[in-house]
């Protein structure tokens, strides 16, 4: 059994939010629910400063805080490492939303579209979401499993790879089996550039980031001031 993980290379990422859109399109999430969202942070001081984009989503933690607090067992870490919510079991208490240290969970409050009426697309897309439950990124489980059934390799074959990964226009996202030491994700995690959000937090995210790698050059000042 694989242990799915993801690596996001912040040196390649330009913060375009293409992943956020790809996720919306693949999973048809309703308004306000962005399983993947792209935040932006500035680091450094003028002129030695850089704008760092930071795509955030469920980290599919090895020790998920969300799972610990879920009273119904709706949140569950599967064998393949995907942390998923069974919307049939979720009673919408939202304990997990508070417990998740990464802000990855969203409560689906009411069936509402982006406009006054649901568009044709929205009617089609929102079917899979159940009002009154908590939702979040599921590593495109359906897509990955459908791909596996067809004998495809997640992270390599497009049809078996999460939408945010294969669509990224800087080729900055990677998906694969962290238990396979030869997978791209494993190699990247071992590259020395990888880090997890909230370092030292016991949650142990399975979504890793690669450092932006930009040197904060002194922005055109020879004296480095």
């Amino acid at each position: 059994m694989a242990r799915w993980g993801m690596v996001i290379d912040l040196a390649r990422c330009i913060g375009c939010a293409g992943c956020q859109m790809a996720c919306k399109a693949e999973n048809g999430t309703p308004p306000g629910i962005t399983w993947c969202r792209v935040e932006v942070k500035d680091i450094g001081n003028f002129p030695a400063v850089r704008r760092i984009p930071l795509p955030v989503q469920c980290m599919h933690c090895r020790e998920p805080e969300c799972e610990k607090v879920c009273p119904t067992g709706a949140t569950e870490k599967t064998e393949s490492g995907i942390v998923r919510v069974d919307s049939e079991l979720c009673m919408g208490c939202r304990a997990c939303v508070l417990a998740c240290p990464y802000g990855a969970r969203y409560f689906y409050e009411e069936k509402k579209g982006y406009y006054e009426t649901l568009s044709l697309f929205e009617e089609l897309a929102y079917k899979r979401h159940r009002v009154g439950t908590v939702t979040k990124c599921d590593f495109c489980q359906e897509r990955v499993e459908r791909g596996l059934d067809q004998g495809l390799k997640p992270g390599v074959d497009r049809e078996a790879t999460p939408a945010c990964v294969f669509n990224c226009m800087t080729k900055g996202r990677f998906f694969g089996d962290l238990d396979d030491p030869r997978s791209t994700v494993s190699l990247l995690v071992a590259s020395g550039r990888a880090f997890q959000l909230l370092p030292g937090h016991p949650s142990d995210p399975q979504v890793y980031y690669l450092t932006p790698g930009t040197t904060l050059s002194a922005g055109g000042r020879e004296d480095g001031k």
């Binding site: 400063v49 704008r51 930009t214 055109g220």
Partner: protein, 866 residues
Amino acid sequence: MNQELHKKTEREDRWIPTICGECYNACSILVRVVNGVVRKIEGNPDSPIGMGRLCPKGTAGIMTMYDPNRVNAPLKRTNPEKGIGVDPRWQEITWEEALATVAEKLKKVRREDPKKLFMMGTTTTVSIQRGVSVSFATAFGTPNHSSSGGGLHCGNGAHFAAGLFHGSWSMVPDFEYCQYAIYFGSSKGHAAGHAANINAQMAADARARGMKLVVVDPLCSFAAAKSTEWVPIRPGTDGAMALAMINTLLNELGIYDAEYLQKHTNAPYLIGPDGYYVKDLDSGKPLVWDLGTGAPKCFDASDVMDYALEGVFEVQGTRCQPAFTLLREHVKSYTAEKAETISTVPAATIRRLAREFGEHSRIGSTIIMDGKKFPFRPVAAVVFRGAQGHKNSAHTCYSIELLNQIVGCSDVVGGSLGFNPVSFGHPDTGQPAFAPTPAPDGLLCPGTWLTPHRIYPPRDPAPPQTMGLKEIHPLGQSSPYVVSADQEELWTKFNLSYRPEVMLNYGANPVMTMGNPGTVIEALKKIPFIVSSNLFLNEFTDLADIVLPDTCYMERYDTLPNSPPILNHPAGMGEWGFAIGQPVVPRQYQRWDYGEFILEVADRIGITRELNAVLNMFYGLQPPYELPPDRKTTREELADLHLKFNFGAERGLQWFKEHGLIKWPKKPEEVYWRIHNKCRVPVYMEFMKRTGTKVKKILELFDVPLDLSHYEALPDWHPCPSHQVKDPQFDLYAFYYRDVLHTNSATMENAWLDEASEINPYSYNITIHPAVGKKKGIQNGDLIWVESVSGRKVRGKVNLSEGINPEGLAVAGCMGHWALGMPKAKGKGVLFNELLELDMNHADPANMNLDLCVKVKIYRDHQGRS
């Protein structure tokens, strides 16, 4: 409609290849259609145009398509009063009524004076609609066809330079081989814009490979964020910095590619004391000095042994010098120290960057591609909208482009590449084929261009009879005068013999994109009858008399949106790819393509014969694939003929509907064409001087004062209005830039893009430096007013960021919509254009580019925190 769909028993679920229409790149997409409804858009992995990935706008296109606020039927106004906030009181009408009304108005103006028709088109797409629209204008007999905002707000300077030097619409580093790129006000490969999606992929690879990227920009922009070095320059001073770099290269370091300058530029052309070429008396060709024989020769003489770049010579009894010598002497006054006082970039940095650029260019080196030897110059200086969006647009772009010419890195391996100006065509048909050709003076004339107008040789100036006064701005493309504050005054002075009476607009929203809306609205209100084809009721349609329900790109045919491939096709090696757009779902309601509308209207007013002739010319169609002269065509037929003409009888529309696109590998001689092409490029703009003299004569006739100092053959840095403001209260340079999430104003209504823009602190807010905030008691999230020297003001929320030159104030995109018909866009972001003056004093005298930078003061809104 919904019920009908659900009733369908058979389940349809398929992927259809077509093109994205959220920006002009027309990336190849695959659209998943489930029971007649678009369920998902993905990039088409089979196509070089996008390579299977999409920018955020591309994926989000589904929300544009199904936005319930779209216009679904032709509408006519019933309230004669026009203005901001005045309800036009739309009434639905039939297409028959719309067509009959428009045809009648058009017949009348065509009888009186065809110039009374003013046409405008969006720059968001370069689709078939545009070709049909431009062709209609020509067939009708009006020279007044204009592009909306994108025209003024991007191209006049950058396209001018790219046209002259690369025979293309724009340029990029050769991402695959470049080792050192310096960007001036450009985010190519990091945000929106030319070939955005593919360039982002290629730039990320270049970054991973270790290409150094220096970004000169007052904002730590999308590109600066990924750069090896960010140089936070003062807005509008890039030209001064570039000239100082040239001075350093030529006069301090002595780094230049003499062989390139001799063979591929007019550097050796002899210039007389009057500043003009010294020409051969018989042939009229410019002369060069051959050091080998010690005699003057025609520039293209085959026996020149050694072109002189330096020295003083005597020819035909006058003293003359090679253009290169004049350039070298001229730039001496641009010391790095002088540039520092202008640009705030330290002299030592300017010198270092010049040296790095020169050293990385590896002058003299070669590389073997496909078994053939090519020059290898892995550096590129790239200019785009930021640097060129000023009153000194033309000279700024020219100065920056000279950096490429001096080290010989233009259209060679690793260098600065024009977007595909050379094509040998598909192996089966040899089409589409194009390449720059030399003018009689040897200078480059582009082989392909977006419209029939070519940048070189420049049109001869003439007394203006176009609304945009293009006759006295032969080096510009998009004109502010079609909507400027001083248009009536200028038109009167030039005795313009007519005033616009009918306007046909395709998809543009000039109210939001051309300058301050008040000025634009006043100009447009004077046009008695306006017809506009739009997806939404917007700020511009509030001035329209008839609104037509446009189709979304997934509802129509589009022939070869990637042709000419001069801004949406990846430069560098790889593949050629030509795709078509096709409807993926049946169109709903009474939506119609603008193209269809134009073809029908042309027929009703009896100019089908003329239109078909122009369309044949525009699309380069030749027998047996010409449009018939005597009957109305359809866009399907036009697409079919265009495709067959280019790719063979068996590859018509039907073939393309199945396959989506055709592709084949590029040849290195196409991509790195410079050394195989006879054209030279102007390091000395003799034509500018010549044109200026002619313009001057015309202006004197009409007593119009225009600053002609920009019509000089050698580059200079000219201060902009913002640099001349003395009042210390106005202490910030306000400028705007393109957000990766949006295409001008066109995508602002998209709900998903809106959601992402809300998350990104840069998209909807006013960015200033925390030190400025501290000084003025302004905190993050505060509501502030931004007020220009002339008292124009806008309000918005503050985003404090270390990533901006403390002298700067940055705003993203064309935002701040107020129209009720675009509820997602309404009230979002900041309407930067409100601050802009729209008149001759704020336009580049040479290329008409509007100055997009304003000196402002800021203060807190009395409501304080929002």
